[in-house]
């Protein structure tokens, strides 16, 4: 069984930014095709900057800690910067995830992307793609 770092346990036991958000500017909900978990990410955006982020997660310790860390990492960032927060960046910030749990951090990356694109759609902006080369400069 996977062993978690202290950082993961901290973000799991004391998750940051957990909860629903009133009137979010963007919402992304993704499901984990691997184990069937669900992560929902809310963003409050002003002047292209993420003012606040919140999450609700149905998943394992790694999924909850990844959600918590991801929201911490993107707060205050521009949408472009937030888009570039990879699952690896989330895992690294958590001082590593067991290899069998890396897909839980992918969930966080995908939730951010989906929430940003939800915002962009509402603003009638073109959607960003998932592929490396299509990422904004």
């Amino acid at each position: 069984m996977a062993m978690y770092s202290k950082k993961v346990m901290d973000h799991f036991m004391n998750p940051r930014n957990v909860g629903e958000m009133e009137n979010p500017d963007g919402v992304g909900e993704v499901g984990n095709p691997k184990c069937g978990d669900i992560m929902r990410m809310y963003l409050k955006i002003e002047d292209n900057i993420i003012q606040d982020a919140k999450f609700m997660t149905f998943g394992c310790g790694a999924a909850i800690a990844s959600s918590s860390m991801a929201t911490e990492l993107i707060k205050g960032k521009t949408l472009e910067e937030a888009w570039d927060v990879s699952n690896k960046a989330v895992a690294d910030a958590l001082e590593g995830l067991p290899s069998i749990k890396m897909h839980c951090s992918v969930l966080a990356e995908e939730a951010i992307h989906k929430a940003i694109n939800d915002y962009r759609q509402k603003q009638n902006l073109p959607l960003w793609g998932e592929k490396e080369e299509e990422k904004p400069e």
Partner: protein, 392 residues
């Protein structure tokens, strides 16, 4: 969280996963590491101590399941016993037929050998179970063909604790001249097991599930059963199971099984009362269901699903309160599949996700149960408050 790990002693409620080895068992083992260390196959004096110790242990195991002493063969655990029983019968009887009957909720130590045998040309029927995890005796009877060589159904399920109708299946097997194997790994020490009364031809057990050492087990093989060896090599175990005997392990297995079956009725009664207190307390939490059979269940097994949350998270939080338990959640399995047992009972994936198994043992007390009951509701509430699935 108000409890720190330092303050609270460990409340271990994962006895279905493994148990600690009894200090008395360890004491019985130690001389066979350093003093009576001889290879039992050797003809000299110190080796005779090893040989006698093995035979004493064999008698204890045989007594525990009402078997003839010389029909008990020592193995390295429940997994080896299951592999041996299933593959050994399959290969030895392949000229007679190639069909095996089992259930969808067996332990992987039964299912995976069956799946491997399918790749070698055998046919396997995986019988469904009802929502309580019970297989139907009629289904077993109906599945038998003239190709059937083996029926393998577990005595009691390790996850949900459901007890299968072993005696009846044994009868069906005998009437049809088909061998009957049962994986009794979870039953020993909890239930009365009698290979004679129950028409059992082959039975697997594992030492570490009843305060014996890990890496020890036994296979009972009724006289006359045609079975290939699984561990081929030296002439140990009357040429049935090769490999230098794990003498200390075997001694420990014998000690442990004697202890655990000596007062099984009282033990079971005590477990059952703790179990029911725990079940009743947990079911007071809303959106919560009992898995497995309400009455036909292991006296030490509690298995509850909590809707909207995931089991690994529950375990991690319980751990911070020094409570050790288990789950059938996909997130804790190497394959990222939810428990095939919970799914086999008809639970949807997202509900199987929120399962919690508490398996009791002899050192658990009413205080332990009440402590768990004081902790779990808060944990469930906390996790549900993070869950994107709304509670209506």
């Amino acid at each position: 969280m108000q409890n720190s790990e330092e303050e609270q002693k460990l409340v271990y409620m994962d006895h279905a996963a493994t148990t600690s080895t009894d200090p008395e068992v360890v004491n019985a083992m130690v001389p066979y590491f350093t003093e009576y260390f001889g290879n039992p196959s050797s003809p000299y004096t110190i080796a005779k101590e090893s040989e006698e110790a093995i035979e004493k242990a064999r008698e204890k195991v045989a007594n525990a399941i009402n078997a003839k002493t010389d029909r008990v063969f020592f193995t390295s655990g429940g997994t080896e016993s299951d592999n041996w029983a299933i593959k050994g019968v399959a290969f030895a009887n392949k000229n007679k037929g190639n069909h095996i009957i089992t259930t969808a909720i067996e332990h992987h130590a039964v299912l995976h050998p069956c799946e491997w045998l399918e790749k070698q040309g055998f046919d396997v029927t995986y019988l469904p179970v009802d929502k309580y995890g019970r297989v139907s005796v009629d289904d077993v009877r109906d599945a038998i063909t003239d190709q059937t060589i083996l029926i393998t159904v577990m005595f009691a399920n390790n996850e949900i604790g459901t007890i299968e109708p072993i005696e009846e299946i044994g009868e069906v097997a005998r009437e049809n001249g088909v061998y009957f194997h049962t994986d009794a790994v979870q039953a020993i020490g909890q239930l009365l097991v009698d290979v004679e009364d129950m028409n059992i031809d082959l039975l697997s057990l594992s030492g570490h599930k009843f305060y014996g050492p890990k890496g020890t087990g036994a296979l009972y093989i009724k006289k006359g059963v045609k079975i290939d060896n699984f561990m081929h090599g030296g002439a140990q175990e009357k040429q049935r199971r090769a490999g230098t005997e794990n003498v200390p392990g075997i001694v420990g297995l014998g000690e442990a099984i004697e202890h655990v079956t000596s007062d099984i009725e009282n033990h079971a009664k005590r477990m059952q009362s703790l179990r029911d207190r725990l079940i009743n307390g947990l079911l007071e939490i809303p959106k919560t269901h009992l898995c497995g059979h309400p009455t036909e269940r292991l006296p030490n097994n509690v298995n509850i699903v909590f809707e909207y949350i995931e089991g690994e998270s529950i375990l991690l939080m319980l751990d911070s309160y020094s409570i050790a338990a288990s789950t059938g959640s996909a997130c804790t399995s190497a394959s990222l599949e939810p428990s095939h047992v919970l799914v086999g009972c008809g639970l949807p994936h997202e509900i199987a996700h929120g399962s919690l198994r508490l398996s009791l043992g002899k050192e658990n007390t009413e205080e332990d149960v009440d402590y768990v009951l004081s902790v779990v509701p808060n944990i469930i509430e906390r996790l549900r408050s993070m869950s994107p699935m709304t509670i209506k």
